[in-house]
Symmetry: C2
Subunit: 298 residues, 2 copies
């Protein structure tokens, strides 16, 4: 098996099509890299890109795209709904196949070092690549955003892991790291009451006493006239999808509310779904090696 | 994507390790072929092999292994619990990736022709490769087994598709075809009464009024003191695993019996399980393109 890594770089440009195209170019043209998805968001003024490929090639493509982004994006004039502190805002690496988390962390550090050297950019490491517990959570690092960055970086605890001690004048700073695949799993409820979705979100998410690898919040789906528990599963190998689903079901029951459907947004590893099938079909001793596609990838 | 085909040749030797090893050699050594599994069964005196790979290479390896089997296996002295009529008893091809059923049928016919010419062996085509409705079902072709073959082949309707009009003296005849991946899915019940498993099998299987792509029978699991509905799913894309599972559950209820677990024997396509996950998790509009492994295979 060849080593494969996924990377989901977030660039702070979601409106100027010409700039977005230039940033994307290396993801279309670098051999050994496959562009899986990209979503320019005008409200967020941000483009989230999903690529996968041979680790060295993925790194090269990201460095090249970052160069274009740093050249063209000026955070001083950037407005958008999504929090951001850099032109190349976040770059997570996700090990997919024949590649350990330790190797993904090494790739993240290596990429961060090159970004810092090549573009004179401060770079912070986060998640599994973090060098301090306070830097594991992206939200902590990004708090204050681009506008607060210069002042924040004066504090010794916010010295970047690589690069200069002050923000890049137009491109701010970047956050690079390694993490597990994240599954965006939303569960829809047959009620209009946002408060019910929020209550359920509170009871299932880690931060308020719920499941260890689960983030959740309530969201209104105005067009459909229902609400949703919007969930991020941050480690599906430890916190299973079916467990979250069953919890939402029994929590909803106390409000006389039922699940009407769910959605998976973007990509998911097959294992997360096969795990759910094995639970509901009560399959004893199932091994992923029994899945033809798993064997095809070997 | 490269074309990939699976092949599950059944050889009528399950006891003589040296002969089995010789038959298996081309599956270990042919470039472009991957040996996924092999199961010599002493009671059945039969070895079932699962390989996959590039279609031309798979054909070459099967032809070579068949040569060894025909040379070493003498059906006149063969005893075993499993019905058989040839040294190379059955050879189904299963399209896996970037390969249509029509192409698998062509590969089956091509392999059958070569087998017949090279080894002076009568070969029948079955399942999707069958040349008559009466030859779709393997059991129909094999009825009478090796011992009844010479007489059966005197009838005009049992003229083989390729090769001589009478059995090979020691190797009988072979059956070659193309089919969908078959999933062996067994459901265990908390009762010792075989009759209950048989009744449920009757109500879910196609042959007695049940689901179109489902074969089933009751089996005793003596060691565990329970019974099992032993199921073959012959087209999981049309008859879903979860549908069979839910049917067994509601049929069992009338006997006051419950499902205690299930097993998948051997290989399964990921789609069959993901389909079940999507049902139980009520995922709306899920696409297989959202599965990372699917994209990795592209």
């Amino acid at each position: 098996m060849a080593a494969l890594v996924e990377c989901v770089p977030n660039f702070s440009e979601g409106r100027n099509t010409s700039i977005i195209q230039q940033i994307l170019t290396p993801f279309f043209t670098t051999p050994g890299v496959k562009l899986l998805d990209y979503k320019p968001d005008q409200d967020h003024n941000r483009t989230v890109v999903t690529i996968m490929g041979e680790p060295g090639s993925v790194k090269r493509a990201v460095i090249e795209a970052a160069g274009t982004a740093i050249q063209h994006i000026d955070l001083k004039n950037h407005r958008g709904a999504h929090p951001r502190m850099g032109a190349v805002d976040v770059v997570p690496f996700i090990p997919l196949q024949d590649y350990s988390m330790a190797e993904a962390v090494e790739l993240a550090r290596d990429t961060a070092r090159t970004l810092a050297q090549q573009y004179d950019l401060p770079v912070f490491l986060y998640e599994k690549a973090a060098t301090a517990a306070s830097r594991e959570n992206l939200a902590n690092i990004r708090k204050g955003e681009f506008e607060g960055l210069a002042e924040k970086m004066l504090q010794p605890e916010w010295k970047p892991d690589f690069g200069p001690q002050s923000p890049h004048p137009s491109a701010g700073a970047s956050v690079v790291g390694a993490r597990m695949p994240l599954i965006a799993f939303n569960i829809n409820l047959n009620t209009k009451q946002l408060e019910i979705a929020n209550q359920i979100a509170r009871s299932i998410r880690h931060s308020s006493g719920g499941l260890r690898y689960c983030k959740a919040m309530g969201v209104e789906l105005k067009q459909r006239g229902i609400v949703q528990v919007s969930i991020n599963m941050t480690d599906y190998t430890r916190t299973s999808l079916y467990r979250v689903f069953e919890m939402v079901k029994f929590e909803a029951r106390r409000y006389g509310v039922e699940i009407v459907g769910s959605e998976i947004i973007g990509l998911t590893p097959m294992e997360a779904l096969i795990d759910a099938a094995a639970y509901y079909l009560r399959i004893e001793d199932f091994s992923l090696n029994q899945v033809i596609e798993k064997r095809m990838l070997e």
